[in-house]
Each structure stands twice: as structure tokens, then as C-alpha cells.
């Protein structure tokens, strides 16, 4: 078995363990949250018989070990259960909203890359100039401003004042263009912080690479500065950025909740949020399971992609270490 294969298998085993651990922690936490789920779900007029029936259907009458066993047993069979209120399969509920979250996440990361990388390149190629300092202030500002504040101001400026974009982040017509337009503000509000991160990261990585010997050699050969920066140096400086992007995708898949709430956009975050408020634990558990799964799988793919991105790593066993 090659080193790479051994590494992949060990990462997959780790992924499964992380999933198991996360679900165990989550399940334990839900046991400590105050509030009778049946009562919260059914409301004040619910008859005692209805409350009892719902508790039984949710398995709340079972001992804790039985609840845990039932939950993991169902997950292993790929059965996330049925929502006790609406009667809908929970997997369907999650899959209904997941595409919205995926679209939002990749749009946000796309915007962040499109703006953050040029900003970082500019700062690295103009170190210690006024432009570099302005870029630094902008980047740190983007990182520091809470995303929800950005979201509210984006709505006030671009939806209410200028009337360029709609407030609500979901299309009723289902048309591609309408969906794209409605994606702009939520994605931008999520992207701003990442623009700052990426710009700073690209700047520092690029500065490091620009001091490498091969860059000096390229300059000595008289290759144009633009070619050196964008063709040779940026490629080598991209590895840490790709790592951060992988993390960002994973985090945004579950962490886009504020954008989903503020823009009234369906998504996995708002689904979990609503389910927590109503103590609909089966939906919470299924939603979190999917988010954790996507997070660890994304990071696994990013880790594995290092060896593909840089052949030198592949020769060293694809362990994801820094370049020599």
C-alpha cells in the first residue's frame, strides 16, 4: 500500500470518528437543553394524550442509552427519520434547503477570491506604500466588522436606498437570473470577512515567495514583473489560501445562518435554527449531521488536493506539509 493510500484511509477513518464524536456531543447537549420538546412543538392547547403520543414518537420516553442507540442505528442505515410534526422525511427537508446553502457558500467564496486575491497581490507588490496600508486597513476592517452589520447596511443601501437588489434572498419565480440577483447581497455580506482574510494571506504568502531564489533568478533573466508575480509567484503562494478556502467552505456550509435569517433565505442554517427554537431535535440532529459531514469531507478533499496541486508533496506522501 502506498503512503498516499495509507494517508487517505487514515483520513477517512478520522473523518468517521469526527462524525461520530460530533453527533455524540450534539446528542448529549440536546439532553441538557431545558424545555419539553413535545410541549414546545404542540403549543398550549395540546391535549395530554397528544403530548404523550408525540413524546413516544420522538422516542423521548425511552432511556437515554436507547435514544442514542436508536439514533445511531438509524443514521447508519441512512435513515434520518420523519419529522413528527409535518410527517415529512427529514432527509427531504434537509435536501430541499441544502442547494440554497451550497449556492450561497460558493458564491460567497467566489466573491472573496475574486476581490481578495487581487487586493493581496497589489499589497504584496507595493509593500509599505500608501496603497498597501489602505489595503491593510480595508482588509482588517472587513474582518473586524460583524457580518450581520454588513448585511443590514447592504440591505439599507442597495435595496432600500438605491433599489438595486431585492431584500429577500429567495426567488419566487425560480428563474436563474432572479436567483442570481437575490444571491448578490447575502453572498457579499458573507464574503466581506473572507476578502480580508484572503487579501492578508495572499499578501504575506506572496511576499515570502517573492523573496525566493527562483524569483530572483527570473528577474535576472529579465522576465516581466507581472509574469513573475502572476504566473510563477502566485501559484506557489496559493497553497495556504486554498487551505483557508477549504476551511471557509466548510464553515460557511453551516455558518451562513445569519445571512439566511436576515435575507429570509432557505438554508441548512435557518432550518436548524428554527428546529432549535421549537425543540424539534430529530431535525436539529439531522441538520447538524449533514453540516458536520460536509465540513469534514470538504477538509478531507482540501487536504488530499495538496498532493494534486503540488507534485512535490505527492512524492513526499501527500502529507499536506509546507513546501521545502
Amino acid at each position: 500500500m502506498s503512503d498516499t493510500m495509507r494517508y487517505v484511509i487514515s483520513r477517512i477513518i478520522t473523518t468517521v470518528l469526527v462524525l461520530f464524536g460530533a453527533m455524540l456531543v450534539l446528542f448529549s447537549l440536546t439532553l441538557f437543553v431545558p424545555g419539553d420538546p413535545a410541549r414546545v412543538l404542540l403549543g398550549p392547547r395540546a391535549s395530554p394524550e397528544a403530548l404523550q403520543a408525540l413524546s413516544e414518537r420522538m422516542g423521548l420516553d425511552l432511556p437515554i442509552y436507547a435514544q442514542v442507540g436508536r439514533f445511531f442505528g438509524n443514521v447508519l442505515r441512512g435513515d434520518l427519520g420523519v419529522d413528527v410534526i409535518s410527517g415529512r422525511p427529514i432527509l427531504n427537508m434537509v435536501m430541499d434547503v441544502l442547494p440554497y446553502t451550497i449556492a450561497l457558500t460558493f458564491a460567497a467564496i467566489g466573491i472573496a477570491v475574486a476581490i481578495g486575491v487581487p487586493l493581496g497581490c497589489y499589497a504584496a507588490t507595493h509593500p509599505n506604500t500608501v496603497g498597501d496600508r489602505i489595503t491593510a486597513v480595508i482588509s482588517v476592517g472587513f474582518i473586524a466588522i460583524p457580518n450581520f452589520v454588513v448585511a443590514i447596511y447592504l440591505v439599507l443601501i442597495f435595496s432600500i436606498w438605491l433599489n438595486w437588489f431585492p431584500v429577500l434572498g429567495v426567488s419566487r419565480t425560480g428563474g436563474f437570473w432572479d436567483q442570481l440577483v437575490r444571491l448578490v447581497l447575502p453572498a457579499t455580506s458573507l464574503a466581506l470577512g473572507w476578502i480580508g482574510y484572503i487579501a492578508r494571506l495572499v499578501r504575506s504568502s506572496l511576499l515570502e515567495v517573492l523573496n525566493e531564489n527562483f524569483i530572483r533568478t527570473s528577474r535576472a533573466y529579465g522576465i516581466s514583473e507581472n509574469r513573475i508575480v502572476y504566473k510563477y509567484a502566485l501559484k506557489n503562494a496559493a497553497i495556504p489560501t486554498v487551505a483557508i478556502l477549504g476551511l471557509g467552505v466548510g464553515r460557511l456550509l453551516g455558518g451562513a445562518i445569519f445571512a439566511e435569517i436576515i435575507f429570509a433565505r432557505p438554508g441548512i442554517g435557518s432550518l436548524i435554527y428554527a428546529a432549535i427554537n421549537t425543540r424539534n431535535y430529530p431535525v436539529v440532529q439531522a441538520g447538524v449531521l449533514v453540516v458536520v459531514f460536509l465540513f469534514v469531507v470538504t477538509n478531507l478533499l482540501v487536504d488530499l488536493s495538496y498532493s494534486k496541486l503540488d507534485p512535490r508533496m505527492s512524492r513526499r506522501g501527500g502529507t499536506g506539509g509546507r513546501m521545502p
Partner: protein, 519 residues
Amino acid sequence: MKTLISRRRLLQGGAALGLAGLPFAAPEFAFAQAGSSVTVRVDRDLQNLDPARRIGSVEGNILRATMRRLTQFAPNSFEVINDAAESMEQIDETTIEFTLKPGIMFHQGYGEMTAEDVKFSFERFNNPAEGEDPATYAADWSALERVEVTGTHSGRLILKNPAPALWLIALSDISGCIVSKRAFEELGSERMKTTVIGAGPYEMTNWAPNSSITLAANPDYLGDPPMFPEIVLLPIQEPQTAQLAFRSNEVHFTKLDSPSAAAALQREPGTEIINRDSINYVWIGMNVQKAPLDDLRVRQAIRLALDVDEILLAAWDGAVGRAHALMAPGLLGHWQDAPVHAQDLDAARALLAEAGHGSGLNLRLTLLNRPAYQTAGLVAQAQLAQVGINLELEVLDGGTYWSMGEGEAGENLELSIQRFGGKADPSFQTQWFVTGQIGSWNWQRWSSEEFDQMNAVADSTVDEAVRAETYIRMQELMDESSAYIWLTHEVNLFAVKDWLEPAILPNGDDWQYAHFAPA
């Protein structure tokens, strides 16, 4: 062959994946023609459309528009008028005869509405089919013995006991919705949780989960057609987002959560702010079983130490009137002469000293994490500090807060700010304060045998004068307990486009989409 993924390819792939997600994020939508539809904000998505197992007003309002009842409420009022019934007659205290209008057709070809459908709809509340959960709203039909079918369109409701509230709580409201027996049998009760087969003026034509719910005018509706061909409901959890969507004209009608929101939207062109007195009730309650609140003098002292008008001014910008008792003005049993307890700090201090708490005491106020309640809690904290009471505020999220009356948490509860929604019949308001509700919704854990007996009597007395008198006496008992400091019956605030005239029942949460009309 070895394949390398370049960085550029990786980024291109990522972008392509993001864009590829877009078409999949497009479930089927009904198209809303500009100017032909009304867009309404609802605060959550629908959960269960079975009238017997509905969750709240989101489902209730959809069912009110898509289903028919024997009787219904007239627009904007609790006046009972016929709906599917051609005639309704209370033969005696326990018998109601009905005759259906012929030719009422259920949606989607499920046939004509008959008395058998009425029987099935009402009796299933207390006799669910095999495999069905018990009805959540079984209490609404607890007085029903059976429904006798006397003809295709006629029948008789036989009650176990006189039940004056039946007309307002069950027959004319959501529990009175007539479902298609055939649809339930063919589709199954699980499917009917997210499907409506009604016969009302609207038909639910589309539900995109967490996105929108579309009600389209029912072309086969037997009666005056609705004024708008389409009502679109948008689930928007965050009130601020709803207000912004209203300002950007993406929403035409929304309930507002505060007077300040109303003041902000008032300035918007083309906006009408609707301000209607409500029948809900907000109060500060005290757990009479928990020391030191088990001492009447302590409760009286707290009531005397609080300046309710000041609390209302701070928490609701003075935009709401003060409540003096449980029943709001206009309801049967409204206590016109209820005492107005004014702040008297000296008297409060004297009572506390008499109760052995002259050196002060520590108490806890439990409240929901809503801005108005939090402000009310802070003002109460400052006011009680003047008489030596150190009030700790316990601010909780909805899920935790609404379970605080149960078990050990309920026993340890001290003071709480509570808000309950009202309905047209006073029995709905009093039901939470009986002894049997201790451990559930009677958070004050106040128990009065006289109150319980009178509640049972008023529940089964047809004579309105007797009922009114009984309910007033029950409120007197509550006042004597000093366990309740009534704050307000609230106002219902709505923002609506000036071309739209909505129909809202007096409790503010129940809307009649079928009676929405152009202004």
C-alpha cells in the same frame, strides 16, 4: 495516466459548482403576476395543516382561507355567520341542527361536501382513526357526544353538556373546518399534514418549503369569489427583515412587533399603519406556592411597588393601554369596574416590614427574550429596588421559557412576565388559571376551588348574563390573590400597502385572507 488538478482548474471547478447549485435550488414555484397577488409575511413555515393537529396561526390562517366551516366569523369581527351551512339552529342546550348548502365541491375533484364529511371532521377530534395521533385540539370538541347524519346535507350535533363556547372556539374557528372524508381515506392522515383538500375560496396550489406558500382563488368556490386571485405567504423569521421587505415592496402586509417599528414605517409613502386594540393579555405573575411569595402581604407589596403606567411607557412607548383584569374590553365578562392599583411605595414598605422583609429580599423575574419584556423587566427591577427588593432578571429563549411552568422549574419559578393570546369566548382565557393547569400553564400555581367551580359553570351555561357575572367574579378572585399584575391587552400593529384592506380578527393573530380586498 497521471492527472494533475491545476489551481486554476480548482477555482474554476469551485465556481462552476456554486453556479450549478443554483438551478437545483429552484423547486417548483407558482408565478405571481404583478398586481394580481398579495404578498403576506408569516413568521415561520407551515408545519401541519391537519385542522385537528395544526400548530398555530400560520396553519390556521391558511385553513381559514382554504376550508369551509358550518359557520364562520364575519370580516374583522367575532360575529358568527353561516359559511357552508345553509341553516344552523340550536334546538336545545345540547342539540344543534345543520343543513349544508348543496353543491359545495372539495378541491381536486374530491366530490361534494356532505353531512358525512361534517361527522368525520368533528368526531375525529375525540376519536382519531387507528394509527393516528390524538388530536392536539381535542379540547375544542370535548363537549361533542356525536354527530348524527339525517340526510345527505343535513345532520345534528349532539353535545354531552351545554357548551356555549362551541360556536366561537370550535364551530366557527379552525377546529370547525370540514375536511374531505374521502381525501383522508385515500391520501392518509400523514399526507394531509402538508396537503389541504378544502372547499374554501382559496386553494393551496404550491408550497416551496421555507420559501413560499401560494393560495390561488378556487374557481369552483360556491360563494362570492375572493378579491385577489392569489395570496402568497413568505416565511420571514426576522421582524426587521419583514419591515425591510415591506419597504422594498416585496411584502404587502406584515404584523409589526413594536410601536417603534410602526413609527418608522409610518413615514413610508403608500403605507398604512393599522393599530387595533387586542384581546391578548400580558401580566406579571407571582408563584403563590414559592416563599416568600406565598405570603399575600409580599404579593400585595410588590403590586403596590410597581408603577404599571411607567412600565408601559418604557416598554411599549406608551402605545398600549393598561389592562386592569383578564378580559379585554368588548369581551363577555369584561370587568368594567376592576380596581386600578396605583403605586404606593410607603404602603409597600409597610407590608414588607409586616411580613418580616423590612431589610429587603431577593427575587427572580423570568421573562422571554423580547425587547419589550426585557425593558419591562428592567423598569420593574428599578421600581422594586425602591422598596428593598433586589430583582434578578432571568431572560430566556422561547423554547426554554415556555417550559418553565413544568416540574421542578415550575415549582421554583418566582415572578414571570407572561403573555397569552385571547380568543372570542372568555372560557378560552380562563382555562389556563384553573388548578388542573398547575404544572402546565398556571405558572402562578394559584388554586381556588371557587374559581374552578365557577369556570366549570360558566363553561356550560348558555345564559350570557350569568356567564358575564360569573367571569367577573372569577376575575375578582384573581385580583384578591394579588398574584396577577395586569399590564396590557396590547395593540395589534400592522403595516399594509395603502391599496390593500386586510381582514384581521380581533385577537390580531387570526387573518382572513379570503376577505382581503382592494382599499
